[in-house]
Amino acid sequence: MPRLTAGARHRVAFTLNGKPVSLDAEPRLLATDALRQQLGATGTHVGCEHGACGACTIQIDGEPARACLTLAVQLEGRDVRTVEGLAPAADRLSVLQATFRRHHALQCGFCTAGILISLDAFLRTSPNPDEQELREVVGGHLCRCTGYTAIVAAALDAAATLRGEPASSVNRDPVHV
């Protein structure tokens, strides 16, 4: 039975944005700190460190997860995706990132990485969401700049684009409720 002792560092290997990575972690090391400090993947932000704010949300095997509520050792063998893995190339934005830009769905940007990761996971399983569903998903994130309206508009636009609907049919105006 694998027992990882408290004082020592233990090798943890997983896939990060499609590439194999490994690091040495004490059992108490949080996934947030492992990603940022050991692997230099600082796109994942650290906010409240108790699961309330959502800034550190990553994907583990395609499902959203609070990195601050995940131990680095729990990533062993998993497929981890962070905001760095969303863009298809260094000079191109993903569909969702592009609609965030178009709709001004971010201001300071602190919460953005987590929200993009959540919405990316959600849109993969719910390609035709309504506004209420999207509001519930982004309700798992604190954003103190935007008031969420532009975020929901960007997500609706991204969903329509990903469904292959022509851009002209998409309502680009922010949704006011």
Binding site: M1, A6, E49
Partner: protein, 275 residues
């Protein structure tokens, strides 16, 4: 905020987890999805010497039917139960209440049994277990035992689980033929801790109503088919019996008022939903 140091055991068989609990029970904590335990570790409200990860135990990840019971083992995440095909007819109360458990992001990690073990008085899963008269299946190296939810939850974040035991599974009774179910909750935002949560089940000759987030644990009452002022009186008595307290989220008076109003709403909805 960083957790204090602990050993981490990735149990590959149930016996391994039970051995650790037997040897270090009081110093050990079981970790499944971690959505309740990790905040406690990060804030150092809990400082266990060893964490036992049960997510790799064979069979712990699969929901199964045993007669009229929906059996949910310790490795099943909340999102998986919510996504179960036909859940809205198999047990409508779970389909109604699970979307209120945390957020989309935490349901993807948090487990049904983990929320049960955490026993937060405002949590929806313990409330459903109490409302449906479900059972908690405990296991130690020495024995297996099964407790009714009303016996398992003994206080605020306190349960009857012994230090050498873990929750192997919880069992929710499937919908009773002809019965109606309903759930309502009031929170500041969807996903926040409930200020008051109510669940009801109505059959041909009885009403069962359970209230969470008011007393130190979910509480249930059963009545004959009351109507009008008799129902108001029963709910008023229930509201006072729960011994509500003022806190930062709501006053005791608001909570009593919500028990009376939400209680009536869930009972009326459950009565209407009877087939």
């Amino acid at each position: 905020m960083k957790p204090a140091a602990f050993d981490y055991v990735r149990a590959q068989h149930l016996d391994e987890a039970l051995d650790v609990l037997k040897q270090q029970g009081g110093e050990a904590r079981v970790i499944a999805g971690g959505q309740s335990l990790l905040p406690m570790l990060n804030m150092r409200l809990a400082k266990p010497a060893v964490l036992v990860d049960v997510m790799g135990i064979p069979g712990f990840g699969e929901i199964r039917r045993e007669g009229d019971a929906i059996v949910v083992p310790a490795g099943v995440r909340q999102a998986k139960l919510l996504a179960r095909l036909g859940l809205a007819t198999e047990q409508p109360l779970l389909a109604a209440a699970l979307p209120w458990v945390g957020h989309y992001q935490t349901r993807a990690r948090g487990t049904v049994c983990g929320s049960t073990a955490h026993a937060d008085p405002s949590a929806e899963i313990p409330l459903c277990l109490v409302a449906l008269d479900g059972e908690i299946r405990l296991r130690s190296r020495k024995k297996r035992r099964s407790l009714k939810a009303s016996e398992f939850f003994t206080g605020m974040m306190v349960t009857d689980k012994a230090e050498d035991e873990l929750i192997e599974a919880v069992a929710f009774p499937a919908a009773v033929k002809g019965a109606g179910y309903a759930f309502r909750e009031v929170a500041r935002r969807h996903g926040d801790f409930a200020i008051v949560a109510c669940a009801a089940m109505a059959t041909a000759d009885a009403i069962h109503v359970a209230v969470g987030a008011v007393a130190d644990r979910p509480e249930r009452r059963s009545y004959p088919l009351l109507e009008g002022s008799a129902l108001d009186d029963a709910l008023n008595a229930f509201a006072w019996e729960l011994d509500a307290r003022d806190d930062i989220h709501a006053t005791a008076r608001l909570r009593r008022d919500l028990v009376r109003s939400l209680g009536r709403e869930v009972i009326e909805e459950a009565l209407r939903c009877r087939a």
